[in-house]
C-alpha cells in the first residue's frame, strides 16, 4: 500500500478534553475510496474523532495524517457536512448561496464568487439532485432537501474526502435510502466517511466500520459481528448485512 492510497491515517492517537481520554491510543487507516461508517454510542467519541480528522482538535499524543498532510493543511481538500440542526433555518440564503460557501478557501479572498465557483456549485447541486431548486430560499426547502444542500456545499470544493456528520438524522427511511444511493455513486470517485447512529444498517451501505467507544477499532463490515457491536454498546443490537440476512445469533 503506497501513501497515496491512504486517505486517513491515525497512529497511536490519544485525546482528552480534560483528564480522561475520549479517544484512547487509536491507530487505523482509511484507504482511498473507502466507504466508512463511524459508529458508536453517544458520548463515545465519534464527533471528537471527526474533529481530530478535520484538525479542529489537536491530539495530545500520536500522529494524524489526512490525504498525506497534517489535518489543518488538508482542510481545503476535505468536504465536511456538520449536523444541520445547529443552523438557523430562517437565515436569508438560497440553496446556491449556501453551496457557494463550499468554494471558500479556493476562490479569491475578496470580491464576489467567479463563474468557476458558480459552475462548481451548480455541479454539486446536480450531484445531489437539486439543480432545479438552486434559486429556492433555504427556508422553503424540506428537511431532506436542506440536508442535501449541505452535502452539495461539502462537494462544491471538489474534495477528495467527504466527511458527513449524521446525514440521515431526521430523514424518512425512503429519503435515507435515496441519499445513500447518491453517496454510493459519489464514492466511486472519492472517499466517504459518515458518522452514523443507524447501527443496524451499517453493513448495508458501508465497506468499513470504525467502532468508537473510547477505544477505536476498524472492521470490514463483512466481518463485523453483532457480538462486537453489542459489546461496544453494552446492549444487544441487530445487524443487517448487505444481503439482508441477519448475522447475529445473539440477537434473538
Amino acid at each position: 500500500m503506497t501513501d497515496t492510497d491512504v486517505a486517513i491515517k491515525f497512529e497511536n492517537v490519544s485525546f482528552a478534553y480534560e483528564r480522561e481520554n475520549v479517544v484512547d491510543n487509536a491507530s487505523f487507516t482509511v484507504v482511498d475510496r473507502d466507504f466508512v461508517g463511524i459508529i458508536g454510542p453517544n458520548g463515545g467519541g465519534k464527533s471528537t474523532l471527526v474533529k481530530l480528522m478535520l484538525g479542529v482538535l489537536k491530539p495530545q499524543k500520536g500522529k494524524i495524517e489526512v490525504l498525506g498532510h497534517a489535518p489543518h493543511r488538508a482542510c481545503s481538500r476535505i468536504g465536511y457536512m456538520p449536523q444541520h440542526s445547529n443552523l438557523d433555518p430562517e437565515f436569508p440564503v438560497t440553496a446556491i448561496d449556501v453551496v457557494l460557501m463550499g468554494r471558500l478557501g479556493i476562490t479569491s479572498s475578496v470580491g464576489p464568487y467567479g463563474s468557476k465557483d458558480r459552475n462548481a456549485a451548480m455541479k454539486a447541486l446536480e450531484e445531489v439532485g437539486l439543480a432545479d431548486h438552486f434559486n429556492r430560499p433555504l427556508k422553503s426547502l424540506s428537511g431532506g432537501q436542506r440536508q442535501r444542500v449541505l452535502i452539495a456545499r461539502a462537494l462544491a470544493g471538489e474534495p477528495q474526502l467527504l466527511i458527513l456528520d449524521e446525514p440521515t438524522a431526521n430523514l424518512d427511511p425512503a429519503v435515507q435510502d435515496e441519499l445513500y444511493d447518491q453517496l454510493r455513486e459519489l464514492n466511486k470517485k472519492i472517499t466517504v466517511v459518515i458518522v452514523s447512529h443507524d447501527v443496524g444498517f451499517i453493513s448495508l451501505y458501508f465497506k468499513t466500520a470504525i467502532c468508537v467507544s473510547r477505544q477505536v477499532h476498524t472492521h470490514s463490515t463483512h466481518d463485523l459481528t453483532s457480538q462486537q457491536v453489542t459489546d461496544m454498546y453494552g446492549r444487544e443490537v441487530r445487524l443487517i448485512h448487505r444481503d439482508h440476512s441477519d448475522t447475529g445469533a445473539c440477537c434473538d
Binding site: L54, V56, C75, S76, I78, Y80, P82, N86, L87, D88, E90, F91, P92, V93, T94, D97, V98, L100, M101, G102, L104, G105, T107, S109, V110, G111, P112, Y113, R136, P137, L138, K139, S140, R153, G157
Partner: protein, 301 residues
C-alpha cells in the same frame, strides 16, 4: 359618513401642506439640506449592517455598542470644553468608544459564549454611567445629552457631515468587498473556519463595522433609538426577499424612506425628527406583519 370623509380630506390637506412646506424649506435651509444628506447617507450603512445584524441575530450586541458611545461622547465633550482640546468632537469619542466596545464584546462572544450576555449588559450600563458622569462635570447645556440619547439630525455640523460620509464609505466598501466571507461567517462559522476563513478576524471586523454604523445612526436618531433603525428595515425586508444582498437593498430603501419621511413630517409641527423616524419605521413593520398575515391566510379561506 360625509363628515368623516371631510375630516379625512382635511388631514390629507394638512399632511400635504406639511410636506410642501418641508420641500420649500429644503431649497433654502442649509441645516435641512445637511440633515437630508446625513439621513440618506446613513441609510446606506444602516441597511447593509442592519441586514447582517438581523440575519446573525446580534441586535443585542448592537444595542450594547450603541449605549457605550455615550461614554465616549461624554469624555470627548469633557476634554473639549474643560481641558480645552478644541479639535476633539463628541463624535470622535463615539467612534473610539464604539470600536472599543465592539472588540471587547466580539472577543468575549468568541472566547466565552456563556458569559456573553453578562458582559454586554455590564458594558451597556457602564458606558452610559461614564457618559453621564462626564456630562455632569462639563459645563454647558443638558440639551446635548438629549440629542445624544434621542438624536438631533438638525444639529449636524458640516464637520459631522464629512465624518458621517467617511464612515459610510468605509462600511459600504468593506461590506461589499467581504460580503461572501461575512455571509459565510454569519451563517455557519464552524464550516467557514474549516474552509480556511479566519472567522475571528471577520467577526471582529463585522462588529467594528456595526460600531461605525451605530455612530453614524447616533447622529440621526440618537443612541437609544439606534436599534430600531438598524433592525426594523431589515426585518421588514426579510419578509419579501430571500437573499441577504436583496434584504440589504430593500432595507436601504426603507431606511431612506423612513428618515426622509421623519424629517418631512416632523418639520413644521416641530416634532423630534428621530422619534418621528422611528415611529414611521415601527408603523411600517406593523403594517408588514398585518399584510403578511392577511395574504398568507387568504389562499386557505
Amino acid at each position: 359618513m360625509g363628515a368623516k370623509c371631510d375630516s379625512f380630506i382635511a388631514i390629507i390637506r394638512i399632511r400635504g401642506r406639511v410636506v410642501i412646506e418641508f420641500i420649500e424649506a429644503v431649497t433654502y435651509n442649509t441645516i435641512l439640506q445637511n440633515a437630508l444628506i446625513v439621513g440618506v447617507v446613513a441609510s446606506v450603512a444602516c441597511g447593509i449592517m442592519g441586514s447582517y445584524i438581523v440575519a446573525r441575530r446580534i441586535s443585542y450586541i448592537a444595542g450594547g455598542i450603541a449605549h457605550c458611545t455615550l461614554g465616549g461622547m461624554g469624555i470627548a465633550r469633557y476634554l473639549n470644553r474643560v481641558v480645552g482640546w478644541s479639535w476633539l468632537e463628541p463624535l470622535h469619542g463615539a467612534v473610539a468608544a464604539a470600536l472599543l466596545a465592539a472588540v471587547i464584546i466580539g472577543y468575549v462572544s468568541l472566547r466565552a459564549r456563556q458569559r456573553e450576555d453578562t458582559v454586554i449588559s455590564a458594558l451597556w450600563a457602564s458606558g452610559m454611567a461614564i457618559g453621564i458622569l462626564f456630562i455632569a462635570r462639563t459645563p454647558g447645556y443638558g440639551e446635548d445629552l438629549m440629542s445624544y440619547l434621542f438624536g438631533n439630525i438638525l444639529l449636524v455640523s458640516t464637520n459631522d457631515l464629512y465624518l458621517v460620509i467617511a464612515l459610510d464609505v468605509v462600511v459600504l466598501a468593506l461590506g461589499l468587498i467581504f460580503y461572501n466571507r461575512f455571509l459565510a461567517v454569519c451563517y455557519d462559522a464552524e464550516f467557514a473556519r474549516l474552509r480556511g476563513v479566519n472567522v475571528e478576524f471577520y467577526y471582529l471586523l463585522l462588529l467594528s463595522l456595526v460600531a461605525l454604523t451605530v455612530v453614524v445612526l447616533v447622529t440621526v436618531v440618537g443612541l437609544v433609538l439606534v436599534i430600531a433603525l438598524l433592525t426594523l428595515p431589515a426585518a421588514i425586508a426579510n419578509h419579501f426577499v430571500a437573499r441577504l444582498w436583496q434584504v440589504m437593498l430593500i432595507a436601504i430603501a426603507i431606511s431612506m424612506g423612513c428618515t426622509v419621511a421623519g424629517l418631512a413630517i416632523s418639520y413644521s409641527p416641530q416634532l423630534p425628527p428621530g422619534a418621528t423616524t422611528i415611529a414611521i419605521c415601527a408603523a411600517a413593520y406593523l403594517l408588514t406583519l398585518i399584510l403578511k398575515r392577511t395574504f398568507q391566510s387568504s389562499p386557505q379561506t
